[in-house]
């Protein structure tokens, strides 16, 4: 690296400092997002290719670039309390086009995880999916109308999944309980 030396102590001090300063920034948040997402979120240079590729952007105030900036600056509250966080369809178009090889989609996934963990508002449908899987093993369980059609097609009325073999469900419940996910989902949904 080229050593810059202007002979000005104040300027040299500024050049040595590589951090941004924002009053409500939380550096731990940046680090946590990076770890959970497994992507190099700090490499973002805010070009906006992500927002330009995003199918949700033209029809809402959701801007993936803004969330990338929040990730870098550690703007935890701003990111996790923004309802737009839940408008990402996870299509990964931004990720395929990012010139910095970042996966912005996975940054969103990490932030959603952190929103849940820190008690921020999580849309109901996400928690209801947890409840359904806990109960049946399926996020979209079978029903009687569908059973009749399956029979007509020569398929068993229930697929050979947890629907036919419910003895596998306790194992699934143990995994979910290990992370206390079902109890949390129940608690949040009952409060609403």
């Amino acid at each position: 690296m080229v050593e810059k030396n202007y002979g000005n102590p104040e300027l040299e001090n500024k050049l040595r400092d590589r951090n941004y300063y924002v009053t409500d920034s939380n550096k731990d948040f940046s680090a946590e997002v990076k770890k959970l997402s497994g992507t190099i979120s700090h490499m973002c240079y805010q070009c906006g290719t992500c927002t330009g590729s995003c199918p949700s952007a033209p029809r809402s105030s959701y801007r993936i670039r803004v969330f990338m900036r929040r990730a870098i600056l550690g703007l935890e509250e701003e990111a996790l309390s923004d309802p737009d966080l839940w408008l990402c369809t996870t299509c990964y178009s931004c990720s395929d086009r990012c010139p910095r090889d970042i996966l912005p989609t996975d940054v969103i996934m990490a932030m959603r995880n952190l929103a849940f963990k820190t008690g921020h508002a999580v849309p109901k449908n996400f928690l209801q999916t947890v409840q359904l899987i806990y109960k049946t093993g399926h996020g979209v369980p079978n029903n009687d109308a569908n059973r009749a059609v399956r029979e007509r097609l020569g398929l068993p009325r229930d697929p050979p999944t947890t629907h036919t073999y419910p003895e596998y469900i306790p194992g699934i419940q143990k995994i979910i309980d290990h992370y206390n996910l079902k109890a949390e989902a129940d608690r949040i949904l009952s409060e609403e």
């Binding site: 199918p55 369809t89 059609v149 020569g154 290990h178």
Partner: protein, 301 residues
């Protein structure tokens, strides 16, 4: 690497195919059998679990739950074949991550030990469509040779969906801006594949958005339907039952909410292949689709 000589797979069903569009499941089993691919039941499998709705809440549980499904196939000693992009995202990607990340794998195995299971990393995961395209397993020519009722005279648009091929750098499908391999498969059935604007755009349903903000999801779907109709397609084919649900039931919801009607038949590639191999619409439960497919079926009579 893969067990390429052994054309027998554990069939991972997921949720939407068996529980909403059983024709996808039935046609997968029957069409693949005609191509020398055997799909065996994966007993006790669960939801993949849904990468958007479930993964958004806690990725660690997503890893562990997908790993449990992978363990069931490992116990069978079979690679997994599946027919849904969402399942592919969970099952393929978690398999890939656990194979290459020791810390993740150890964490998952700690949890799995509580239910006497262990993830070993001994199998691979495939989408049935990529197996159909793969010359080592099947190939376009073999698909074409299996056709007894060519779909001649029909124009079919292709929706690739997102989670099969993207993110590109972690997958093995190559170009995600304008891929053409599914069009080759559609062409093998005698149909004319049509190109349309913004082909690779999402259906709108993923990431939990369909459940969170239905109108937002439908607006994305509506944009795709406009583009597909403009290209003069008689039907849309896809390789993901969740995209299928969004395009098929979504058209009813779009009519209710936006007052727009497209009457575009939506067929999973397995259903399309089933028709081309001579299966009847009743054998495919196509009458269960929300959008009437008669216009398309009449063209191939």
């Amino acid at each position: 690497m893969a067990t390429h000589m052994e054309h027998s797979y554990a069939f991972f069903l997921g949720c939407i195919a068996p529980n909403r569009y059983p024709g996808c499941e039935a046609s997968a089993i029957k069409t693949s059998a005609k191509l020398g691919i055997e799909l065996l039941p994966l007993k006790g499998a669960s939801c993949c679990p849904a990468p958007g709705a479930f993964g958004s809440i806690d990725l660690n549980v997503w890893y562990a739950m997908a790993a449990r499904n992978l363990c069931l196939a490992e116990e069978m000693g079979k690679d997994i074949a599946l027919i849904c992009n969402g399942c592919y995202k969970s099952i393929w990607e978690v398999n890939h991550k656990l194979k290459h990340n020791d810390e993740l794998r150890d964490g998952v195995n700690e949890v799995l030990a509580e239910i006497d299971m262990q993830y070993k990393g001994t199998i691979n995961v495939w989408h049935l469509a990529e197996l159909y395209y793969d010359d080592k397993i099947c190939g376009v020519k073999k698909v074409a040779d299996s056709v007894t009722r060519p779909l001649t005279g029909t124009k079919v648009a292709v929706h690739y969906g997102c989670h099969l091929m993207k993110p590109q750098k972690d997958r093995h499908f190559g170009d995600t801006e304008n891929p053409m391999w599914l069009e080759e498969l559609v062409g093998a059935l005698g149909a004319e594949p049509v190109q349309y604007r913004n082909k690779m755009q999402c259906c709108g349903a993923g990431g939990g958005v369909r459940g969170y903000d239905l109108l937002h999801a439908l607006d994305i779907t509506n944009e795709k339907l406009i583009n597909i109709k403009e290209a003069g397609a008689d039907a849309l084919t896809e390789v993901c039952p969740f995209c299928q649900l969004q395009f098929d039931r979504g058209q009813v919801e779009i009519a209710q909410n936006f007052g727009k009607k497209y009457n575009l038949p939506i067929l999973h590639f397995n259903e399309l292949l089933g028709l081309a191999q001579g299966m009847t619409p009743a054998e495919l439960a196509i009458d269960l689709h929300a959008v009437d497919c008669t216009s398309f079926l009449e063209k191939i009579q």
